[in-house]
Structures are given as structure tokens and as C-alpha cells.
């Protein structure tokens, strides 16, 4: 599936609303602004790492890949 587009800058007021209404945290204006910047930065970096298209990937495949990509070990 196409990866989600990079997020636009995040409004600190949204962070405050999310904190209060979804998670039960009260956030001051200054801290909400810091978090908005940090979350936007995280989202931007993640979006840059995503392939253009993916469809057949699932978290459980990671363990299978670890096993499949191993080589014979010393001492065995």
C-alpha cells in the first residue's frame, strides 16, 4: 500500500487536546509546543524512511527474517 504522506506541522493546540481528551494529561502551552515540534520531527523522519509502496509486510515477519538470515555459527 502507498505509505502515508509526511505530516504537516502539528498544531500545539491539537497536542493539548489529545493529551487532555485521549490520554488524561494536562499540558501547558510551552510544553505542548515542544511536543508538537518533536512529534512532527519524528513523523517527518519516519515518513522519509518509508518505501513508496508496501503491502505484504507484517510485524511477525521480523522474527522469521532473523532466523532466515542467520548463518551457521561457531562451535556447531
Amino acid at each position: 500500500m502507498p505509505s502515508d504522506a509526511p505530516s504537516p506541522p502539528i498544531d500545539p493546540a491539537l497536542i493539548q487536546q489529545q493529551g487532555r481528551q485521549l490520554h488524561g494529561f494536562a499540558l501547558g502551552d510551552a510544553r505542548a509546543t515542544e511536543l508538537a515540534i518533536e512529534v512532527a520531527r519524528i513523523q517527518e523522519r519516519m515518513a522519509a524512511a518509508m518505501p513508496d509502496f508496501w503491502f505484504f509486510d507484517e510485524p511477525v515477519q521480523f522474527l522469521a527474517e532473523l532466523d532466515a538470515l542467520a548463518c551457521a555459527e561457531d562451535g556447531q
Binding site: 505509505s3 502515508d4 502539528i10 497536542i15 489529545q18 493529551g19 485521549l22 490520554h23 488524561g24 494529561f25 510544553r31 515542544e34 511536543l35 515540534i37 518533536e38 512529534v39 519524528i42 513523523q43 523522519r45 519516519m46 522519509a48 524512511a49 518509508m50 518505501p51 508496501w54 509486510d57 507484517e58 510485524p59 515477519q61 521480523f62 522474527l63 522469521a64 527474517e65 532473523l66 532466523d67 538470515l69 542467520a70 548463518c71 555459527e73 561457531d74 562451535g75 556447531q76
Partner: protein, 476 residues
């Protein structure tokens, strides 16, 4: 005979097995050393001296009767205070966890004890395993035995300080973004972050379950191999654990490394390194080349995406684990840990799922790009000197993410990829502070990394340098 407190895991086990030393003598020597160094480095949060001596006496009686528990018979160890154990509280370096009901005992520690190890006590750490420096406002900051004004690295901070100060021969730590490798690097130790799934995490405090690993901090690769051999293995209580065996006979460490391919650290990873770190890494690579390894540059993908994806997973999972306490007991968190966890509540679930879903694909791409060309990849851990406690005592919430990112830049990506990575001490800078390099391998290549590290240590000897006990006035 050498002071038993100065012996490593393998040396102690051999002396006890050979009848030159008793488990009680080894335990008393460690307790004496702990009494001298604890005021300096603050590595222990709980010492269980009476129980340890009683267990040592039992093991000595067993040995006299010809009953040997295993390859660690009588060896005193201590571990990061985040492993559940019957009859023992676990703090996780926090003001909260000691009052919580304990899960079943952690197999990682139980397996070491089944192999004959003695648990002397429990080690200080970063609060909730969430800091790369070793600061702790609840139990006091961890201090580096090579210079008590410097950080130990974290979060397995006490594990690093205790082993470097020779309070114990080895310790377990955990690594979610660098928490074994950073204290190993900053204390001059071998630290093994194993492949995800190599050692059971059951009964251990989670930081971010998709990234968490358990591993040893020791002075030598041979000691780390002994501890890993005892602790590793499938555990039905941790379904991520592999059934792939780990070699039990340490003779594998002696096989030559000549002919193995070594990938030199890419130039851009070393671009901001100090001259001393650059020279030490180059000298270490030259030693490995002298051992016959074929050292050459290798094209490596940027680590930045893996850092970003790992960071998002770590924050999201930590927020899920800590939400209830952060709402009900915010006053019991440090600013550092609380503020680092907050962002996780605002990362969309879809982003978190992208990061976890694509992990297998990224792992395959990385391995097929790098480990078809080389057997071992070298990477920096820290490109600058061990920082002071004061300069990293960051309470400004906006500045904390950058400080953490600077310290974990070269460690966190390998947690996202799940690959084994070993911190190898490679000397000391002009200030007497340890320097290190990281060896990374294919999934489950811990034996290979340990073998290379062992041969390097045989050829050099940095691990034999012992920190001097400073006057208490300088410990502050």
C-alpha cells in the same frame, strides 16, 4: 594467587573448579571490594551479602562432594535491578516498581544461578531503563570508576561501574537503544547486545518489548561467552526466544579469525570523531588486520531511518507501558523520563505500525547489502570523550531528545534491526577514559563477534587495566 576480586568470570570458575579458591573466598573478596568502591561509584541498590555467603557455603559443600552445578559454580555476579526474583523486590531504578507485585522469576538470572553463579545483589540503573547516562534521582547518580565526575553510561549503569571497579566479575544488563553497549564503552568493558530473541526477557522490566534485549557486561569476551552460554535459550514464557543453540564449549573462541572479512567503519560515521577516537579505532582495525582479518571499506546504508523507526517504536511502547503511572504518579518520575515518554502518546498508531511492519524488510535489505560483503561490521559507539555527570544533567525538556540522540546515534539503529552488536574496549584517551568500538554481525552471530573480540583482547590487553580507588573527597 591473584586477588580473587580482580579475576574475571572464567578465571574465577577455573580457580574454584581447580580447588585453588573456594566460593566463600571469592564471595568475601567481592564483598570487600564492594565495601571499598560503593561510596565512590554508587553501583549497588541492594546487597544480599548473607544470602550470597550462605549460597557460597552450599556450593563449596557440593564441590567437596563432587557435585558441580555448572560452568559458573561459585562465581559471584550482580545484575541490573530489573529482574524479578522470588523474595526480592525490584525497583527498575524507579520510585514506583518496588511496590508492584512481582511476576515469575526471570529465567535469565535463574539460568545463571542454575549454572552455579551467586547473585550478590542488584545494581543501580537509569530510571525505568530510560536514560543513556546513568543519572538517577531516586537512588543517586551512577559514577564512573575511571573518573567519578563522569557518567557511567546507561541504562545498565551500575552493571558497567560494578564490573569495571572489580566489585563483581560480570553483570547482566538490558539494551533497548544502547543500554548495554554505552556503559560497556564508557567503563572499558565488553558488552554484548545479543540478537533479539537470544536471551529470554520474561520476568524482566520492559522498556520497549519490540526492542528489548538482555545481555552480559564483563571484562573479557571469554567471560561474556560463558554468561551468554548459560543464560541463552528458548523460553516458553518469552515466545520471541530462539531454539537456535549457543555453543557451550568456550573452545570456539580460540579458532583463528584469519580470513574473516571486516567492514571498516564508514567515513561519515567517523566524521565527527575526536582525533583520539579516530586513532584508537584505526589502531584496533589494524590489530584485527594483523590477526589476518581482511579489512576493507564496505557500502553501508544510512542508519538514520533505523534510528527514527526505532525511536518511534521505543516511545510508543514506553508510553503504553507507563500511561497509568504517568497519570496517577507523575511526581514519582524524573523530568528526563517523563518528558521522553510523553511524545509516545502523540505518535499515531499508523506510524507505529508502519515501523513494526516493515522491520523484516529493512533487516533483510541491510543484511543482504552489508553481510554478503563482510562477516563483521565495525562501527563507532561514542565519537567523543565520556561526558561528565554535570554536562549531561539535562532538565530542560526541549534539550533532552537531542542529548539522547547524540549518545545513541550508533547504537539504537541495531536494536531496530535486531542484530547482535558487541562493545569492544580499544584503549584509553589522554584523560584516562575508556574508548570503544562496536562489532556488528548477522542475526545470531554472537559467537563470531565474541571470537573476534577474544582474539583482539589476547593481542592487546586493555582489559587488564584496573581503575585506581580515588579518595572519597574526589567522588563528591
Amino acid at each position: 594467587m591473584t586477588d580473587p576480586a580482580l579475576m574475571g568470570v572464567a578465571e574465577l570458575a577455573g580457580a574454584i573448579r581447580g580447588g585453588q579458591l573456594s566460593a566463600v573466598e571469592a564471595t568475601r573478596a567481592a564483598l570487600d571490594r564492594i565495601a571499598a568502591w560503593q561510596p565512590v561509584v554508587n553501583a549497588f541498590v541492594r546487597l544480599e551479602a548473607d544470602a550470597a555467603l550462605a549460597r557460597a557455603a552450599d556450593l563449596d559443600r557440593d564441590a567437596a562432594a563432587g557435585r558441580w552445578a555448572g560452568p559458573l559454580h561459585g562465581v559471584p555476579l550482580a545484575h541490573k535491578d530489573m529482574f524479578a526474583r522470588a523474595g526480592s523486590a525490584m525497583t527498575g531504578g524507579s520510585a514506583i516498581l518496588a511496590a508492584q507485585p512481582q511476576p515469575e522469576p526471570a529465567p535469565a538470572v535463574a539460568r545463571l544461578e542454575a549454572a552455579g553463579a551467586i547473585t550478590l545483589g542488584w545494581l543501580n540503573m537509569s530510571e525505568f531503563a530510560a536514560g543513556p547516562t546513568g543519572h538517577n534521582i531516586h537512588f543517586g547518580h551512577n559514577r564512573n570508576p575511571w573518573d567519578p565526575a563522569r557518567v557511567t553510561g546507561g541504562s545498565s549503569a551500575g552493571s558497567g561501574a560494578a564490573v569495571a571497579a572489580r566489585m563483581v566479575a560480570g553483570a547482566l544488563g538490558s539494551d533497548t537503544g544502547g543500554s548495554i553497549r554505552l556503559p560497556a564503552a564508557m567503563n572499558g568493558l565488553v558488552g554484548l547486545k545479543p540478537t533479539y530473541g537470544r536471551i529470554s526477557r520474561a520476568g524482566s522490566m520492559p522498556r520497549a518489548w519490540s526492542l528489548d534485549t538482555i545481555g552480559p557486561l564483563t571484562r573479557t569476551a571469554a567471560d561474556a561467552a560463558l554468561m551468554t552460554a548459560a543464560a541463552a535459550g528458548h523460553d516458553p514464557r518469552d515466545p520471541t526466544t530462539t531454539r537456535r543453540p549457543f555453543p557451550q564449549d568456550p573452545a570456539f573462541l580460540e579458532r583463528p579469525v584469519a580470513g574473516l572479512r571486516l567492514g571498516l567503519p564508514p567515513g561519515d560515521w567517523m566524521a565527527d570523531a575526536t582525533d583520539e577516537v579516530t586513532a584508537a579505532v584505526a589502531a584496533a582495525m589494524a590489530v584485527l588486520a594483523d590477526l589476518g582479518m581482511a579489512a576493507a571499506p564496505v557500502a553501508v546504508p544510512s542508519l538514520d531511518p533505523f534510528f527514527a523507526l526505532g525511536d518511534a517504536i521505543s516511545k510508543s511502547e514506553a508510553a503504553a507501558a507507563h500511561g497509568a503511572w504517568m497519570r496517577s504518579r507523575p511526581q514519582d518520575y524524573s523530568v528526563h523520563v517523563y518528558s521522553r515518554t510523553e511524545a509516545g502518546f502523540h505518535i499515531p498508531a499508523t506510524r507505529y505500525l508502519e515501523a513494526t511492519a516493515l522491520r523484516g524488510r529493512f533487516l533483510r535489505q541491510f543484511v543482504e547489502t552489508v553481510f554478503t560483503e563482510v562477516d563483521v561490521l565495525a562501527a563507532p559507539i561514542l565519537t567523543f570523550p565520556v561526558p561528565t555527570i554535570a554536562e549531561t544533567d539535562e532538565e530542560h525538556t526541549a534539550a533532552i531528545p537531542a542529548m539522547v540522540a547524540r549518545l545513541t546515534r550508533y547504537t539504537r539503529p541495531f536494536n531496530y534491526l535486531g542484530l547482535p552488536a558487541l562493545a569492544l574496549p580499544i584503549g584509553f584517551d589522554a584523560a584516562g577514559l575508556p574508548m570503544a568500538v562496536q562489532l556488528v554481525g548477522r542475526p545470531f552471530a554472537e559467537p563470531l563477534l565474541l571470537r573476534v573480540a577474544h582474539q583482539y583482547q589476547q593481542a592487546t590487553g586493555w582489559h587488564r587495566r584496573v581503575p585506581a580507588l580515588p579518595a572519597l573527597a574526589t567522588a563528591g
